[in-house]
Symmetry: C2
């Protein structure tokens, strides 16, 4: 019986091996990979020093432009008895990326799914925020227009005040606008954590009430992958 491994990738451009040694041993033999972008996947795989030379690995692409009817072909090596590994562009696969559709199909074929330990920016941000993690929600991206974003922020604040910490992300070039909208929209007593460049040299994690945020110099978030948490 073949296995679909869920293989995390590094959050940034780190040159260090990002897998636990015993997990790396589990996947050294794999020749079939499902990836979001071939170029970054090959750069990551190069560091792992697998049993098979890099040029002989089989990489299938699964990204936001992939069509659902391409999934059976992507999955077919598993049905032919080959182990496979699913990788996302950064962090843990099948969370906030198209990989979940492949995992769902694998379950329908009763294929063993084995998730490996890796970095998740959402989870690292939640750990480091000081927010109550007993209940939390990840909301993905909020609306891109200012009115929609502010309406959404007010709804999330209500949920946060009811005890469910609210996690969301923004495309990096709009991070500064998001931060400005949060600070102008939410109440002074609400807490905001802004976690940027997680696991990078430039990592910064700031968590404070909106009132305290108003008294601080604001960080420059431009182009820095950032997780926002309201609690």
């Amino acid at each position: 019986m073949s296995t679909l491994y869920l293989l995390p990738t590094p959050l940034g451009d780190d040159e260090k091996v990002w897998l636990l040694p015993h997990d790396l041993e589990k996947i050294r033999h794999i020749q079939y990979f499902v990836v979001e972008a071939e170029k970054t996947a090959r750069r990551h795989l190069k560091l792992l020093n697998l049993d098979t030379p890099l040029q002989q690995l089989h990489l299938s692409r699964l990204d936001e432009h992939s069509k659902l009817d391409s999934l059976p072909e992507i999955l077919s090596p598993l049905l032919q008895g080959h182990d496979m590994a699913l990788m996302s562009e950064a962090g843990c696969p099948a969370v906030a990326d198209p990989g979940a559709t492949l995992v769902a199909l694998a379950h329908r074929h009763n294929i063993d799914i084995v998730p490996l330990v890796g970095a998740s920016s959402l989870l690292l941000a939640l750990m480091a925020s000081g927010a109550n993690g007993q209940r939390f929600a990840f909301q993905g991206y909020l609306p891109a227009d200012s009115d929609g974003r502010k309406t959404s922020l007010r709804q999330l604040e209500k949920k946060a005040l009811a005890g469910e910490s609210q996690i969301f992300i923004e495309t990096p070039y709009r991070n500064d606008v998001m931060l400005a909208d949060i600070l102008s929209t939410l109440h002074r007593e609400t807490h905001l954590c802004v976690a940027s460049d997680l696991l990078q040299q430039t990592q910064s994690i700031i968590s404070a009430t909106i009132g305290d945020w108003h008294a601080k110099p604001l960080p420059n978030l431009k182009k820095r992958p950032t997780v926002f948490i309201i609690y």
Copy 2:
């Protein structure tokens, strides 16, 4: 400036080192630890082979019985210039455990918070479920009485059908009752993932529609740490 490291622990009784090699190097020098239970913490720390002999490490307890007014004393080594590490009983600290209160206090003292990569049963289950991870919520424990649990399950099913995958846990001795209530309460088309003993030899991850669950032999979940996901 001292640093509060957030130090994950293994999910089970594994004897393997569960930290990335470069993260282990960051914490070898630490002498002050905040732990949920001293006995398991010492067992975990023994495996790490730190610079300081095990018996000379300073362990402070922070658990569900701790009082908020004990937090400043627990935090005090950080203010005196010592690095500290916060550990939970299993998995990632400060998510669904009392550690978040200490992290929040550390932020108020402008102490650097550094989360380290580790295993989270919630995240591993979500990755392996096939559920849409673009939006999800962790609900902690549902009500323990059958009526309350079923009402709660129906509410979570509505949220799941609206696109927000719903993650929750149960105390292990009630897992089988929870599974029976889920199968008798939710619609046949709704999806359920049951992920048990994650990262252990006995790991099992089953994900299917409620209708398909009815056609399967049910797993024995008694005393097995389990994550439930409705989507």
